[in-house]
Symmetry: C2
């Protein structure tokens, strides 16, 4: 394998496990069994290396999402696309791809999961912006499928779906029930997110059931003051 690829793999792993700022070029070149100067020769800088790590896998992934949504939309004609299909086009590509990509895919998954919560500035923000384009496109599909929801509430719920996806990506390897290693069981995780997300998106908007009308709420709230 070429030095350039070994550097990408090593950077992918270490950025995912320890974060961007906490990973030094020395760590990366040591793991890649390459020379310290090779990063700047092949990529120009540490930040450019991060962007290269993203570019390698993100482009095909987001293209697959959008192509699948396009296919569902032309299939539906003038009707809105079914909610389950929108969610599938949004969530299935990342999980499926990660398994095709093997070990590197799992590292990338963790890195992407992290970056949703803790953006790396300024290099990682191009990723967030690129993802925003995909999100906007899916938001209009959701809006047609769930026309009764207000725009604000729809946006919030999309973020809840993104949250479940990102959190599973970031923690998948740590909890076996979140991300088993075998290929067939991987769909268990995807299906869990899909079922949860579908029910959540379909929930009626803002039932006034919270806070629960119960004496315990007032009691616990008043006693729970700072010591």
């Amino acid at each position: 394998m070429s030095t350039k690829q070994r550097l990408l793999d090593a950077a992918e792993q270490l950025f995912a496990e320890n974060g961007f700022a906490a990973t030094s070029l020395r760590d990366i070149t040591a793991l890649a069994e390459a020379n310290l100067a090779s990063v700047n020769y092949h990529f120009g800088s540490k930040e450019a290396l991060l962007e290269a790590v993203f570019d390698r896998r993100l482009r095909p992934l987001n293209r697959e999402r959008l192509e699948m949504l396009d296919a569902f939309e032309s299939e539906a004609g003038d009707n809105p696309v079914e909610l389950s299909k929108i969610l599938w086009a949004f969530l299935a590509p990342p999980f499926r791809r990660m398994y095709e990509w093997g070990e590197g895919g799992r590292h990338f998954q963790q890195l992407v999961g992290r970056i949703y919560a803790a953006p790396i500035r300024p290099a990682g923000e191009t990723f967030i912006k690129q993802f925003e384009l995909v999100r906007i496109r899916f938001q209009s599909a959701f809006h047609q499928a769930l026309p009764h929801l207000s725009t604000d509430e729809l946006t919030r719920r999309m973020h809840h779906v993104i949250a479940a996806m990102a959190h599973t990506m970031a923690w998948g390897r740590a909890f076996c029930c979140l991300q088993p290693t075998g290929r067939p069981e991987s769909d268990v995780v995807l299906q869990s997110i899909l079922s949860f997300a579908m029910a959540g998106m379909r929930a009626p908007e803002c039932q006034p059931i919270f806070p629960p009308s119960s004496p315990a709420v007032a009691a616990a709230t008043s006693s729970g003051t700072d010591r």
Copy 2:
């Protein structure tokens, strides 16, 4: 305000905005208008400062969660606690407290949201372990309220709820629809998560509806190869 408190406030803000590794003691002491040596005098090290930032707010927050759950359980007697109440005890305290704590609370919220996805090692792991105790306690409450769910699926769904909470915390300030600044609207966000989570937790386990049986899935999957 004392130097110690100013250091805590400054560290809270900068760790939240830029991450732990990317924030230097010089950044912190400059913002706190304190001397560089003051961090090591008052806290001993950068990592100990991070732990102090957590300790200040996390202890009362998790105590409130558990006290509220206790109150609901003794109220319910031998019956399982209603799902809506379990969710309220888990989610309301962090959002309510953040508003009581003002600006510092919002910084802390962002920091906590980040750390769920990108743990800071080794100092930040004590926070994760402390949270795990709370999670296990709530998991058994969820298990009684939703006895038909398998343990693995229940764990996965709890993580989806945690994900929505953490994601909103990390991004709340960036999207106005996720976290408006006014006090009354803050409950809109909490209610959105509660409705979404309640519907998601109650979803039937694993309907075999995915992948959607549609010619578009196969078409998009096969065409979506890497360039």
